[in-house]
Symmetry: C2
Subunit: 218 residues, 2 copies
DNA sequence: AAAAATATTTAGATTTGCCTAAAATTTACT
DNA sequence: AGTAAATTTTAGGCAAATCTAAATATTTTT
């Protein structure tokens, strides 16, 4: 279907497009660790396959087909990251490279079965949303607890993983969907935070735990 | 480290070498679905990397290094097949293609963690032995139950998978490691067999079940 | 042992994805 | 607006892995 290289270009363009409507040749070259001249070559090729619109000198935008492919690759990547962390017990910081390889195994059946095996997780271990098999991704007004401004009241609305150890910990700390939280303190040393849960005295949360929690500002 | 192509050549040579000491260019081309001329090119390259000994016109043999790589690729392949069948619930006949892709994801850590996750299985879903992380593979005088000659008494000594559904079924049929079995009948229609277990009246076993059982001739 | 048949290698191209260097275009600045 | 700076594209090449066709070596047959 598509080569590893093609998939990587499309994925990178998708990510860069989040920040700007049009993606430049240089940005892409930078991100893909390659040279602008190589990017130009590939863009022509991908345009011919109508995965993107490319206007000489004026950057590039994904077509709906391109976007669909990007979401598919991202879905595979994030599902594998989830598997590596929650089932093979990798650290969430050591999975990226391996997931970069696994994401290019092309089999819709495999992807869907992996999804089902993990009980259709909606977020990967870094807190990023996982597109479903139709390419729909939780568009979150919701933000990661780590990004919540100090003192701002918010409500927990999602958890990034279904790992039993995590759920157990949340239960004990009395953190659940719907709980009201406010960050009262941040420690730059270890990125841990103090959080007031349902107006009760603050508790300390590690960065690792906080990254699994998603909140809606109240 | 090695390209996908290189790994596939080495793996194929290993398999073909089981039948003959020296592997010919044509055999390899046939197995790899490519042309003899392409094989010659690659053999020169692999010789330069000292993965194999190659004498122009006289075929090829793996060096110890080549054999090590082959076993590593085979290990990855069979571990993934195991995962696909026992955890993602693929049919054992639909996993080969996907495992062909997964086997080329290069990460020793990943392979070892996958191995541990599945509790160090010694056989894949087709009954083939899985090399351990040192490249040691169960050298079986042991054969698959399907290959046992009619009337020949034997003892069950291994099971090809730890899948709970399988173990449950074996328990109910009173088949366990150490049980004495004799095949009393074969049906070519569905490849099922009638087996006498511990001298009790025969029971019917499906091909799929029988393939999971390994026996030592008594 | 020579000729015929088969197998293997060499030579020369092709495709993919990348490179460098030079040319073209756009953007930024005075 | 016109030039300098930055960006992007083009042109020409390279390495990997493949191909076809032709040449060469081995094996089989007579």
């Amino acid at each position: 279907m598509f080569t590893v290289s093609e998939e990587n270009y499309i994925k990178s363009i998708y990510h860069l497009q989040q920040h700007a409507r049009n993606v430049s040749t240089n940005e892409l070259a930078e991100r893909l660790q390659t040279k602008p001249a190589s990017v130009t070559d590939m863009l022509k090729k991908l345009k011919a396959k109508s995965l993107l619109d490319y206007e000489k000198y004026y950057g590039v935008t994904l077509t709906p087909e391109g976007r669909k492919l990007a979401l598919d690759v991202i879905r595979r990547h994030r599902l594998w990251e989830n598997f590596l962390v929650n089932h093979l017990h990798f650290g969430w910081d050591e999975v990226h490279e391996i997931a970069e390889q696994l994401e290019h195994v092309q089999s819709v059946l495999l992807t869907d079965k992996l999804d089902a095996f993990m009980n259709f997780p909606r977020f990967d271990p870094h807190g990023d949303p996982i597109p479903d098999n139709k390419g729909k991704m939780q568009v979150l007004q919701q933000i990661n607890l780590m990004q919540l401004p100090l003192g701002q009241q918010a409500e927990i609305c999602a958890v990034g993983s279904q790992q039993s150890e995590l759920l157990e910990m949340l239960r004990q700390k009395n953190l659940q969907i719907g709980s009201t939280v406010t960050i009262t303190q941040r420690y730059s040393f270890d990125q841990s935070i103090e959080v007031e849960i349902n107006k009760k005295p603050s508790q300390s949360l590690s960065e690792q735990l906080a990254k699994q929690l998603f909140v809606k500002v109240k």
